[in-house]
């Protein structure tokens, strides 16, 4: 772990990634301080203003300051990403461990379930889920969690299978270690590497997917400032009012790029370890 952190610190791309992520996290935490205006404050007199000293990113169709909305939008994106990935990582890891360790019927059932969920492209499945449950942030998180645990399950199962028949495991069992202990204190720490890679990358994908769903109208509903939703609204006012879609989109890109850069570097380290 420490070695990973050391290598990551030294890699310029990863550092850029971490900085980008931190930037957005800071925006989210200190939103009330950083945002100059109330993101919900409607002011028709000020609508459709292009970027200026007064309004850094301009104003939207209702006169709301876009910079403030972008800053507050970071909260929505980060919240969705962290909740979804926490749930899917926990659920997926648990099911992966059980599936890999116990094998047999349980393994078959879980893996068939994984296959079913993976037989529909994830965005489409999340779209159906969100549509069926009704458009809201909670339902988007639910729909995405239901779909994404499968990645973790597969990876953890793979790692578990690799370790299951080693002498290491045999020794543990002959010492009388009980199953939960084996699972959590011994197998799980060995899976941390791939789980970390998958989690980081998934955080990025979660932001991307959730903003895509918001763009379609399935996520946060107006007046909540969600980046995807802002692009969707601003789309009607192209090409004149280009700033309404440009800045939210750039933010999505920066945050996702941050997670991916970090995740790729962790992956390089982990695969080097495996070799």
């Amino acid at each position: 772990m420490r070695r990973t952190a050391y290598i990551v610190r030294r890699s310029p791309l990863a550092v850029i990634g971490i900085l980008l992520i931190l930037l957005v996290v800071v925006l989210a935490i200190f939103a009330p301080v950083i945002a100059p205006y109330n993101p919900q404050k409607i002011n028709f007199a000020q609508s459709f203003q292009s970027p200026s000293a007064d309004h850094l990113f301009g104003t939207d169709d209702l006169g709301r300051d876009i910079f403030s909305r972008v800053v507050y939008g970071s909260r929505v994106s980060l919240k969705i990403a962290f909740v979804v990935v926490s749930i899917s990582a926990t659920l997926g890891t648990l099911l992966g461990l059980i599936s890999g360790y116990f094998g047999g019927f349980v393994d078959m059932v879980i893996m068939r379930l994984v296959d079913v969920f993976l037989s529909v492209p994830t965005f489409v499945l999340a779209m159906v889920g969100a549509a069926a449950l009704g458009p809201s942030v909670t339902n988007v998180m639910l729909a995405m969690s239901i779909v994404w645990w499968t990645w973790h399950a597969r990876i953890v199962r793979g790692e578990t299978l690799k370790l299951k028949n080693t002498d290491y495991m045999l020794a543990l069992r002959s010492m009388g270690a009980r199953t939960p202990r084996i699972l959590f204190r011994h197998l799980l720490p060995n899976c941390v590497g791939p789980i970390a890679v998958q989690t980081t990358l998934q955080l990025g994908l979660a932001v991307l997917t959730s903003s895509g769903l918001s763009f379609l109208g399935l996520g946060a509903q107006p007046p909540t400032p969600s980046w995807g939703l802002m692009v969707s609204i601003g789309r009607q006012y192209l090409p004149a009012d280009w700033w309404m879609i440009t800045f939210p989109g750039v933010m999505i890109f920066l945050l996702v790029a941050g997670f991916i850069l970090l995740g790729d570097t962790i992956r390089d380290v982990v695969s080097r370890d495996i070799q």
Binding site: V116, V120, L125, A132, V231, R235, L238, T246, P248
Partner: protein
């Protein structure tokens, strides 16, 4: 080998059945959601009760489930509330547009993904490598809907080089329908004007979809090439005197392509998913746009239909690529 093929082919209907089941339970999870699906959200209690009885929605879940499966087997995906036409009919109408866009993007991804991957591997750790990987990684991080809108802004509005959306200019009539793919049909009928116009309309949406899905292919080709280049036989080929170009781009590439095939199925899945967003942005009349507008009109039956359709296409593509992979690599035999 044959047994493997048969097993895989038999598995498709089972997977589709399970997918349909998944869809059914997702939409029937929330009480009243099925009715909401049929009527839209703004219905009164009395209406909900009436429709519930009429459509047998108050029957036990299992009964509804059997009816649902029976309908699907007959090809009845329900009716769209907005257009009042059977969903299946709509899907068939919109399918060619999505296929055309997906195929075009897939070709771009194959060509450029392999190119970038090979270049990155051959010039490992050089600026060229970083550049190639940068494009791939950058592509993934760009939101597809936003990139499309940016492209439209720059290339259609400000520069005027490309049309702003749609498959064909409104002044032209679509070519005689052979496959439903405008580019192919106009090529086959020698309709050059329509061909040029259709290509012009296809280019930017295709590039948008392709750019955002390059990274998987590039990464796979790169890592596969790196492995091949590290093998002894590559070194031996060089020792024999074959030029670097020949060894890298011909011999090593051929062996690395095999792994690239396995990624194509996965990429197609992402393309089909991303098509929903790109079609919406470019007004491309495909299944994705159909699904997106249905969502806006709270018309959920088409959304399910599209999802199942995409699952079918995805399953078939994965089967083909898996078989291709087994065929190409003599080491894999089942």
């Amino acid at each position: 080998m044959i047994r493997y093929v048969i097993k895989r082919v038999l598995w498709i209907p089972i997977t589709l059945w399970l997918v349909a089941t998944l869809m059914f339970f997702m939409t029937h999870l929330v009480p009243g959601s099925a009715v909401r699906m049929l009527l839209g959200p703004h219905t009164s209690e009395a209406q909900i009760e009436k429709v519930t009885a009429e459509y047998g929605l108050d029957k036990p879940l299992l009964t509804q489930y059997w009816a649902y499966l029976g309908d699907l087997a007959k090809g009845d995906f329900g009716k769209s509330i907005v257009t009042r036409r059977p969903v299946l009919k709509e899907l068939v109408t919109y399918l060619p547009a999505t296929i055309e866009l997906t195929l075009f993007s897939l070709s771009l991804i194959i060509v450029f993904g392999i190119l970038l991957g090979v270049v990155a591997a051959v010039h490992r750790n050089s600026p060229l490598d970083v550049f190639a990987r940068g494009i791939a990684v950058g592509g993934v991080a760009l939101p597809q809907f936003w990139l499309g809108l940016m492209f439209i802004l720059v290339f259609s509005y400000y520069l005027g080089w490309f049309p702003m959306g749609g498959r064909l200019s409104l002044t032209l009539t679509p070519p005689h329908r052979i496959t439903g793919l405008y580019v192919l049909d106009s090529l086959l009928t020698g309709n050059w004007r329509v061909l040029g116009n259709a290509l012009l309309h296809l280019l930017i949406p295709g590039i948008t979809l392709a750019l955002t899905n390059l990274s998987t292919t590039t990464a796979m080709v790169r890592s596969s090439m790196l492995k091949t280049l590290g093998e002894d036989y590559t070194l031996m080929a060089r020792a024999y005197g074959h030029s670097a170009v020949k060894v890298n781009y011909v011999y090593a590439l051929k062996n690395s392509l095999i792994s690239a095939v396995s990624v194509i199925g996965l990429t197609t899945g992402y393309l089909l998913g991303g098509a929903v967003l790109v079609e919406t942005v470019f007004d491309w009349p495909g299944m994705g746009l159909f699904a997106a507008t249905s969502i806006l009109h709270v018309d959920y039956a088409p959304v399910i239909g599209v999802a199942i359709f995409i699952a079918i296409v995805y399953a078939v593509v994965n089967l083909v690529t898996d078989l291709l992979y087994a065929l190409l690599d003599p080491r894999i035999r089942y």
